[in-house]
């Protein structure tokens, strides 16, 4: 169980940048909780505060009922993979894990076990310097599992993994949750989260935007739309116009209609003699729902190049 109470972090004195702003949330055991937010939303800072690496400016974070630093055997309580690499490149994977294991009296057999679990037993004797991004991630996950922890906190675990690795993480997270552990995973890959997480904590600009289930979030977000292909798009859009209905068009002759259903669109078209070539309802994707929710809180937004073709 992870709890954040009014968790706040400012950086840099008086003219501070507010990284995390009064976060309140709970992460329960037994399910995979996805921790989402645009770049710079404060995900990594929050995770560092959960682990006692960064001190909150105000508020409190507890893991397993107490603040992380007060646990007698913290690796047994929480296993963490941080976004930035936390390994000395000159040490072998085995010795990196063994060095951490010694702090808790964890035996060599457990180190070998997690090396096997992470699929890096063959490269365990090699120095981390030569590891690919994916191998580095696997080593980080091996380190997170070292103490057989009740809570697992992983920051962007699928970064750099190949499809097989992504599938492995997905199954690993689900099985960890099924064993009754608390699992908090951050990611910016929405499609991946949709497949892995059951619960979501979404933040933007350091504030809590949503704390809900994946299903509920997608359903309530209004991301569902109907795709309509018609030679008379402008006329149809005009006829459909109503409060709560939003019509967008990305390619000529194709409309995306939000806020009404396929039946209503079909009947409206028929009533006005507008031919339809395609009428396809889409349930919303987590990705779209996320984009809609965080649109106003995105810190680093690309601007579209206009006039380039002119």
């Amino acid at each position: 169980m992870i709890r954040a109470h009014g968790l706040t972090k400012h950086y840099g004195g008086r003219t501070a940048k507010i990284a995390v702003d009064g976060l309140d949330f709970e992460v329960r055991p037994g399910t995979v909780t996805g921790f989402l937010g645009p770049n710079g939303a404060g995900k990594s800072t929050t995770m560092r505060m959960l682990l006692g690496l960064d001190a909150p400016t105000s508020g409190r974070a507890t893991v397993g009922g107490r603040s992380y630093a007060t646990h007698r055997a913290p690796l047994h309580e929480v296993g963490a993979l941080l976004e930035a690499r936390s390994v000395h490149p000159g040490r072998s994977a085995f010795h990196h894990l063994m060095g951490l294991a010694h702090t808790h009296g964890i035996p060599r057999s457990r180190v070998e076990q997690v090396l096997g679990l992470a699929g890096i037993r063959e490269v365990a004797a090699r120095r981390v310097k030569g590891f690919s991004l994916g191998m580095g991630q696997r080593l980080g996950i091996a380190a997170a599992l070292l103490g057989d922890p009740a809570t697992v906190i992983l920051d962007e675990p699928v970064n750099g993994l190949d499809p097989e690795g992504v599938l492995w993480i997905r199954n690993l997270l689900k099985s960890l949750a099924a064993e009754g552990r608390t699992v908090l995973v951050s990611s910016h890959l929405m499609s991946e989260m949709a497949l892995t997480a059951e619960h979501l904590v979404i933040i933007g600009r350091g504030r809590l935007l949503a704390d809900t289930t994946v299903e509920e979030f997608v359903r309530s977000s209004g991301a569902a739309a109907v795709k309509v292909v018609t030679p008379d798009a402008a006329a149809l859009a005009e006829r459909l116009a109503a409060p709560g209905v939003r019509v967008t068009s990305e390619t000529p002759g194709t409309l995306d209609v939000h806020g009404t259903d396929a039946e209503h669109i079909g009947r409206t078209a028929a009533a006005h003699g507008i031919p339809l070539f395609e009428l396809t309802p889409h349930t919303g994707s987590l990705e779209q729902a996320f984009m809609d929710l965080t649109r106003d809180t995105v810190e680093y937004q690309a601007t579209t190049l206009t006039g380039a073709a002119a």
Binding site: R48, L51, G52, L53, D54, A55, Y68, A69, H71, R72, A73, P74, L75, H76, V78, A80, L82, A84, R85, S86, V87, H88, P89, G90, R91, S92, H95, H96, M98, G99, L100, H102, T103, H104, G105, I106, R110, A143, G147, D148, A150, E179, G180, R181
Partner: protein, 257 residues
Amino acid sequence: MTTTYATGVTPRRVLRSEWHKLWTLRSTWIILATAAVSTLAVGLVMGGTYDGDDSEIDTVTFVLLGTQISQICVAVLAILVSAGEYSTGLIRATLTAVPRRTPVLWAKAAVFTTVALTVTAATNVLTFLAAQLLLADTDKALSLGDPGVLRAVLGNAAGITLLALIALGLGALVRSIPGGIGAFVALVLILPELLSAIPYDGLRDALDHFPAQAAGALGSATPLPDAVSPGPALLALVLWALAVLWPSAALLRRRDV
């Protein structure tokens, strides 16, 4: 949740972890070997080429002249031990395993001191004995049993180790390898030279107790002019090391990593 390691983190386990981490890096072996070899090689050259010209120099200081090189090696190793964890990011893993933090710094200091003192003391004794084989028929013939000789040979090792311990503390304070080396060179090696240019007697006395000057006094079998005696020199060095390590520990507890 099939296995439990219920007893958790203990000072002994943190020491074991730091010991393991020190010896599983190639750089440790390379630096210690370089330090030992340079002391021994310079000692043999000094012994083999002695022609009576430097008879006024203290004999122990003379045969251990190579420790000027090994001093730098050992100080760099100390900075790698502390600041190296920050440059690689390993510190985040280390402090996640030991969130009380300060035991990590004390364990690093203890492990480093044990290793550095053992290696430098053994190297110094070996170098002294080897050089003496070559100096047997000169006015620099001495044995370890002569007054002050063993004390100076081991005192030199203690001086190197304690100076390096200051470097370890500085590395932990500035959290960067180049920054740590810069701070060590500036504060320990250059600052006393600058201060010595100020013509003020009280300052002169204080300067004799500065780290590098105290270490020099420790390594001489015969009393040096303008230097403190070995006992106060050792005490001064220990206090310098604590004066750097203690604020490092206090800041380690408070700072974000």
